[in-house]
Amino acid sequence: MLAPRARPLLTTFFSTPRSRKGDTMTQVATPAPRVIESRARRSRFFEKLAPYGFVAPVSALILVLMIIPIAIVIGFSTFDNVIMTPESNFTGLQNYVTILNDGTFYIAARNSLFFTLGSVAAHLVIGLAFATMLNTRLLSPLIKAIFRALFILPWLFTVAIIAVLWRMLLNPNGIINYLLISSGVIDVGVEWLSSRDTALLAVTFINVWAGYPFFMVSLLAGLQGIPRDLYEAATVDGAGPWQQFWNVTLPQLRPIILSMVILDMIWTSQQFALIWLTTGGGPINSTEMLPTYTYKLAFSTYEFGLASASAVIILLLSMVLAFFYVRHQKVRD
């Protein structure tokens, strides 16, 4: 394993930055012992408070703007209906029972699972592949810059446009079918989004296209943080490019990859607009997902109590994931 050997290299780099950068560090005369001690005690106190100070802004913001509405939603889930009725009655966990007894909920959950896992896996592979290619030393910076700009294009557009665009492309009489028929891959146009067999795959593909730049850009940044000398040392050891990728690149990127995977899983499971605007959960229920299911409860049947219960169930499922992630976060020493 390369990592242990990398450490001495790292310390060589990072222990001398100051002198290399030419930073001015004045030499201070050592003060008296008592002054040092009280100074140390004071700084220890501030040191203890420091992290709380650093997380204060975000805590305040999230507490006020998110915790309160979320608490309201959780509250809503225990009433038989809210917002759309003049009076609501407290029903405890009844809404949860109703949802968990609904067959459509499980269909939605199953589709969501496929959609999420498929999207995240594809995002990771494509993002990694593109980032690695964009990080190569074999091409000039200008060429790499051009390709970087091209690869980031899917990110620039709002979901409504992406949905409209892909419905256009995947139209039975659209350009994709036209190209496939002209090149002889298929004989007759496929109803990509309108057929039960292909709709889920099509929607997943669209989501992969729309979301891979996130992985690509984050990984590209992460790749910058891998010291070149690790690769040099690996080459000296006789490792080929593929082995270097597995043994140097991936381990170095691990914390970033883990974070991205968990974030993307949570986001993808929330993806509503893309599915709603392309297929509306259809045909029949082949692209029904937890978010579309929740939306219909809220704004089609106007059952906000049930919708809130559905939301809380989704939240709990995601929190399980989040919990495992938080527990395994480690700083590299």
């Binding site: 930055p17 913001l61 509405p69 559905s310 989704i314």
Partner: protein
């Protein structure tokens, strides 16, 4: 000797270029089609067989948008909100990520869990309570309301990612600075942040994109035309009975061009930072 390094490099270069070209087709073809559609007449967009350039080729959709002050205001609002959100989120997230990465403090893990979990609530169910809250706080139909809302959406991501980037930087860096007498804030701003520029740029990019592309809360939290953003402008072209397809595409392209330019400008920071700067070049 067998194959020279140069020859191997040349072969590898071909493979990489091939991969990049394939990737470009995947990434850019739909956008290319969007561009082509923006020049067509509405009726030609769905013609079969599809054509790249049609008889009705014209710049009219672009002109309609560029000469409409209402639509230009949409662009302005979007940029203002997105830039502000990016700057503030980076500031707040970097501070918090530093705490999560470098400190073990009571409630740290719980707070981390909460921050991560708040993203897991379907926004559509949050809509009504959140909206009522914003009205109560008198942030309805204001820039501040939108900015704070987007910050709340993007902070979990920004904090997680910045924490992860900080986690890749060994503690030896901190120690070295602390020995020299630097306090926690100095360690952050003078040691960690400069090295994390690529990470910050990538986080900033995504934060910008989220704020830029968001529709539902932009629509709900704004009331008057002078506060609305580009995604709303695009959806206004999606009528009850028919869509203004070419104008929608044109508006999308127009809106994304400056964002692309911004990205091109900030690209160089992806290859900045301590490591490649200080290594033997």
């Amino acid at each position: 000797m067998g194959v020279t390094r140069k020859a191997r490099d040349a072969r590898a270069r071909v493979w990489v270029l091939a991969g990049l070209v394939a990737g470009t087709i995947f990434a850019a073809f739909p956008v290319f089609w969007m561009l082509s559609s923006s020049f067509k007449k509405n009726s030609e967009i769905f013609a079969y067989p599809p054509q790249i350039i049609t008889e009705g080729f014209s710049f009219e959709p672009y002109l309609v948008i560029l000469t409409d002050p209402v639509k230009l205001r949409f662009f302005g609002n979007s940029y203002l909100v997105a830039l502000s959100v990016t700057a503030l989120t980076l500031l707040v997230a970097t501070l918090a990520a530093y705490a999560f990465s470098r400190y073990r403090f009571a409630g740290g893990k719980t707070l981390n869990l909460i921050i991560l979990s708040v993203q897991a609530v379907p926004p559509i169910t949050l809509l009504v309570p959140f909206f009522s809250l914003m009205v109560t706080l008198r942030l309805y139909n204001t820039y501040q309301g939108l900015i704070l809302t987007y910050m709340v959406f993007t902070l979990p991501y920004a904090i997680i990612m910045m924490t992860a980037y900080f986690n890749t930087l060994p503690r030896e860096l901190d120690e070295a600075a602390k020995i020299d007498g630097a306090g926690p804030l100095k360690v952050l701003t003078r040691i960690l942040v400069p090295i994390s520029i690529p990470g910050m740029v990538s986080v900033g990019t995504y934060t910008f994109m989220i704020a830029w592309n968001e529709f539902l809360f932009a629509l709900t939290l704004t009331r008057t035309e002078d506060m609305r953003t580009v995604p709303i402008g695009i959806q206004l072209l999606m009528g009850q009975h028919s869509y203004e397809w070419n104008e929608m595409m044109a508006m999308s392209i127009l809106g994304s061009l400056p964002v692309l330019l911004l990205f091109l400008f900030f690209q160089r920071y992806f290859i900045g930072g301590l490591t490649s700067g200080s290594l033997k070049t």
